[in-house]
Homo-oligomer: 227 residues x 3
């Protein structure tokens, strides 16, 4: 399946009407592990979803006094993608900051998810950019970590993410969706969202939660119901 | 002592005029351990206090492909109570979300404190509901943890909390107050609050802090002073 | 070198126009370790910088039922200083709260950085005071930790900080700058900030990031460039 930019935009529009809990429940219903544990929103209230452009960093021993480039991959990230960075969960140096955020905005990159740390939080918030990371510090990656792979498969907290797999993140955290399952997961998540909405309406109308859950099929909320 | 709902409302009104630091100092003055360590506010600026309705979760091995109910206890929680959930501090699955928050609001439940995780943070913030938890993730408890006890004694970070003990939480964290000591702790906390107010006024008037503390009895701030 | 209060104010005005990432990069360029790891902003959006007034706390065994004073040093902190507290990263009791924040404001103290915990967060936020700490709890230090040194050298996460060394903190975290290097670090950080601004302008004008970094000397961003 070749997915065009238009397809990506249409899929993303559907994902961001949902939230990560609905998508996580859809993954659960299919037995697919997806949670990128420990990664938190750095600009509260934002949501992102899109194919992952993967970036692998690894620590390196200092090689003399010279600086080594970092982040030069950014010009190559396609619009509509989410940058997914694996720096082994580092809390001691950063893999994202203000300049990369400006570039990301200019290129139509829709978010960044880091198994590691970020800096320049004030600028990122000012630009209202969807940034998610394990931690925050102000220390540069220069002479501390370098890019060892672009568009390679990553493994984050036990979850494998290949380039083009989807990544989604919001205030509840971040998760990955295998490319081959994106449509099925999305459709199940939409059904789960409808089920939850129906239950919400019912309990607001006075129905006990236990009854509402039974009536609207909460035990298998991804299943289509008759109207 | 039988405490009525009116009593609870009157006590809560007095507690929420204070804060957890004053109540913690009152507990300290009586030698009562109470801090529920590591639990943080998820909607900044809110405060809650009330008798605990206790819920115990424990992890379970997956039992086939079926979903197991969770959260059906909510219809039974009395108004004015705080739901206190012990899931052994889990950061890997959640024990609270949007639907339970809607139910809680409808039933007059005044807050939720979780030794574990919550999800649906955007909805919880929108509803301005006092939610406190160890962590946030988006993963359902379905097939991961189940309710193993309702209104049973819990032990959270070394502090025992029985049903009906009071729980209080604000931006500084969460603590528990044994039911038998609620009035005494409250009265001491109110005296501590008055002492701190007097010191605050004095230092704003130019008195050195060391003198203000001496004058207003900061070493035993829970003691009534002559006007 | 004797630094007067006027000097301090002038230096601080220059530091707070920058941010901790620029200063961290300047420290890196000089091979000076400075990050005070794990310390976070408690009032988002604020920045502070100034000479450290150092306070060392250590835990102590309970000595009978009497309270021991804490925080009485505050009257002695010079205006323009940052209070830097080392309580070995404690997450179980606090070394800062509302009264100290009021005092700090009255005395012209410009911020507090704690390798340990703080409380009274609502009041601190209301006063818009630059507070940075490892953790938050509501438990008093009384009978749990006492001041064991004032204006003594501290070691925080492997970084030595002497009284009068500068401390700077913002949403990215906290760092220390040796007194002897303050001017050199500041000048390098200002050059780094200019380099980053030039790159930002260039990429907003359409230049690829890799080219902008090359043109503006990003590998040695602290070096003065010809206009």
């Amino acid at each position: 399946m070749t997915v065009t930019v238009n397809d990506i935009d249409a899929l993303r529009a559907r994902f961001v009407r949902l939230d990560t809990p609905a998508v996580s429940d859809a993954l659960d219903s299919l037995g697919i592990p997806g949670v990128l544990a420990g990664i938190q929103a750095r600009v509260p209230g934002l949501i992102t979803a899109g194919p992952a452009y993967t970036v692998q960093y690894r620590p390196f021993e200092r090689l003399g006094g010279t600086f080594h480039g970092a982040g030069n991959y950014i010009d190559d990230v396609p619009p509509g993608n989410v940058v997914l960075i694996d720096n082994e969960g580092s809390t001691t140096c950063t893999n994202w900051g203000g300049l990369l955020t400006v570039m990301a905005g200019l290129q139509g990159i829709v978010g960044t998810v880091i198994h590691g740390s970020a800096r320049d939080l004030a600028e990122v918030r000012h630009l209202n950019y969807p940034l998610f990371s394990r931690a925050v510090t102000m220390v540069s990656a220069k002479n501390r970590a370098k890019v060892t792979g672009l568009q390679v498969p990553l493994e984050i907290e036990g979850v494998r993410v290949a380039p083009g797999d989807w990544v989604m993140a919001d205030d509840n955290g971040a998760l990955a969706i295998p490319a081959a399952s994106v449509i099925e997961v999305l459709e199940r998540a939409e059904a789960i969202d409808r089920t939850e909405s129906d239950i919400r309406d019912a309990i607001k109308g006075g129905m006990p939660l236990v009854d509402a859950r039974k009536q609207f099929g909460y035990s298998e909320p991804w299943k289509p119901r008759n109207a």
